[in-house]
């Protein structure tokens, strides 16, 4: 059997096994172990274990538990509640103002956290009840919270970009800066969509009642701006110090985790219960990611041994004679298809080693490709059947928001994101301008 045929067989058996609903790490790890033993015999018995040694040396991975911890700690700290009140009062008088305020809150949370879980948790627990109370349309609410929290992986810090940087061997600082403007662009597009939609259909997103607005004096409004102070300190101590070169990447994530703990303490909410629940959830989510990454790494090592990367390159360039842009678009499409079977971390570890050399040989910038990849992952987070935000929304939303509402709510936002993706593809400077400015070309 040719290596190509074996590679295809390996990939399809993994897909099939995933359909049985076994835990993703188990399905991928099993296929990797079986093929390693079958291809190379007893000598390959250490191959799956070697992935754990590779992980031992992937220092930047330490940011993962730190950011997970930080996200859960922040959602307990009460900072988000204060921030939301600020946005609520300042934006409340506009059509769709609270939805716009929610997006603002999500951008702020994203700048303090590297994953989208914290945004979801905060959105569902703080913004969702308020929006329901003010008679916002259910689909508008669900869409805004899911789309807004997906910004967590684009706006720095971002765990997805850390992982991408390790695999593509691109500095994480560059990737993080490259995510700033695309993240803000997407947020602005969401705001634009909400503003236009609620101007056309005011019943979807009613403004605050006039008497409620009159009760709030300008002094009160200004006082509420204090809520933004603590988040700014946290963002500076983490991302700021890292970009200034004071702390290393991994250190900065620990500083962020420490700052979040301190903030919770200052707000008087650091109870034993909060600590215990936070570390438990942190272990749970960290283990989920790490075991998936470990299994995917062994899979990708076997794949590499088969020469799958070179075979793919030959197929695209020599045999199908595709032009670079076609290949790029095919890659994005393949992410969307695979995103139905796999979570994004597994997908990244499996495919990135095949795609990134190809991207570079085609003359594209790997930093820019990382941003494109992240937008695709954001979309994958929200689209069925495998979407983390979708799962979380389902688990966290009150019964009056049905599954149908949740599924339908994402459609306009996904379209907006595809438009954003097209913009970043057409104008790479959206992503590359800021890192080039800070670090030089």
């Amino acid at each position: 059997m040719s290596n190509e045929a074996i590679a295809i067989m390996m990939f399809s058996s993994m897909m099939l096994l995933l359909l049985t609903g076994q835990r993703i790490f188990g399905a991928i790890g099993f296929v990797a172990a079986v093929f390693a033993l079958w291809l190379w015999g007893d000598g390959a018995v250490e191959m799956p274990f070697n992935a754990s040694i590779t992980l031992l040396n992937w220092y930047p991975l330490l940011t993962l538990p730190m950011f997970i911890y930080m996200g859960y700690m922040l959602s307990e700290s009460g900072i988000a509640g204060d921030l939301y009140e600020m946005f609520h009062v300042w934006m409340g008088s506009l059509h769709g103002g609270l939805a716009i305020g929610t997006i603002g809150l999500m951008v702020a949370i994203s700048a303090m956290n590297g994953l989208s879980v914290a945004g979801m948790a905060i959105g569902a627990s703080i913004a969702l009840p308020e929006l329901l109370k003010r008679n916002y349309d259910k689909r508008m609410i669900s869409g805004v919270i899911q789309a807004g929290s997906s910004l967590g992986i684009m706006v720095p810090p971002s765990v997805v970009l850390v992982l991408y940087g390790m695999i593509a061997r691109v500095p994480v600082g560059r990737l993080w800066l490259a995510g700033v403007i695309p993240g803000l662009l997407l947020a602005a597009l969401f705001v634009l969509y909400v503003a236009i939609r609620s101007r056309l259909q005011p019943n979807l997103a009613p403004p605050l009642a006039a008497e409620e607005r009159r009760d709030i004096s300008l002094a009160d409004k200004l006082r509420l701006l204090h809520a933004g102070l603590l988040p700014l300190v946290i963002i500076f101590s983490m991302t700021g110090l890292f970009l200034m070169g004071v702390t290393s990447l991994v250190e900065s994530s620990a500083v962020g985790a420490g700052a979040a703990t301190l903030a919770t303490f200052i707000k008087g909410r650091l109870t034993r219960e909060v600590i215990r629940e936070t570390v438990r959830k942190t272990l749970s989510v960290s283990c989920m990611f790490m075991w998936v990454i470990m299994a995917a790494l062994s899979f990708s090592a076997v794949f590499d041994g088969l020469g799958a990367g070179r075979a793919l390159q030959d197929l695209f360039i020599e045999q199908w004679d595709l032009n670079p842009w076609m290949i790029l678009i095919m890659m994005q499409l393949s992410f969307l298809v695979m995103g139905m079977f796999l979570d994004d971390t597994a997908m990244l570890v499996l495919v990135a080693p095949l795609y990134i050399p190809l991207v570079i040989s085609l003359g594209f910038d790997p930093v820019w490709f990382g941003v494109l990849y992240t937008v695709t992952v954001q979309i994958a987070y929200m689209t069925p059947p495998f979407g983390y935000n979708l799962f979380l929304m389902r688990a966290m939303s009150p019964p009056e928001i049905t599954l149908g509402d949740i599924y339908r709510s994402i459609v306009p936002f996904v379209l907006v994101m595809i438009f954003g993706l097209a913009l970043i593809m057409a104008f790479p400077q959206i992503a590359l301008w800021l890192p080039n400015l800070h670090y030089g070309n």
């Binding site: 274990f49 538990p65 500083v255």
Partner: protein, 176 residues
């Protein structure tokens, strides 16, 4: 289920829960090492050569030893396109078969970890760095984590088997 199996499930779950509840606090150890490195360098101009590797070792111990507890917490995601629509019983029947594959993977991991540890012990393997710590201790911790995970997956297999046969031996929330 026969009594020895029920006892096995009970004790393995209890032991791994106990270990997990300790391991989850290791995040603070990691945080402390990294903060020490950052503060030491910026404030006191220390250059501590051991912090990076110690943090890496702690991380490996954290997720490998914590793995078994994460199984108990049902942390691991599945592709639920089909699985999510099945009855709990049908899920359990499928799991009985696919759990065996999971166990196979872990057995291979344990064998690989064991042979890697033997190498480290035999040749006094040290890390190639300025600090150069011996690698055997961390490999012992990693192997321990894998063995605990294997024991836990066998326990999960028994629980799924019992549920597939219609006589569950564990309680779980209805929404799982």
């Amino acid at each position: 289920m026969p009594k020895p199996i029920r006892l096995y499930v009970h004790y393995v779950d209890a032991f791994n829960t106990f270990i997990g509840k300790i391991t989850m606090y290791v995040i603070f150890l990691m945080m402390a090492i990294l903060l020490l490195a950052a503060l030491g360098r910026t404030l006191f101009n220390w250059s501590l050569i051991w912090t990076v590797e110690t943090a890496q070792f702690t991380m490996a111990g954290y997720y490998l030893v914590g793995g078994a507890y994460s199984m108990i917490l049902h942390s691991h995601v599945r592709m639920d396109l089909l699985y999510g629509r099945w009855s709990r019983r049908r899920q359990a029947v499928t799991d009985v078969f696919t759990d065996m594959l999971l166990i196979f993977y872990l057995v291979v991991m344990v064998i690989g970890g064991h042979s890697s540890l033997q190498y480290a012990l035999e040749y006094d393997q040290v890390s190639r760095s300025a600090w150069g710590p011996p690698l055997a201790p961390i490999k012992i911790i990693m192997l321990t984590g894998l063995v605990l995970m294997l024991l836990q997956c066998i326990s999960t297999f028994f629980k799924d088997l019992a549920r597939a046969l219609g006589r569950p031996i564990d309680r779980e929330n209805s929404d799982e």
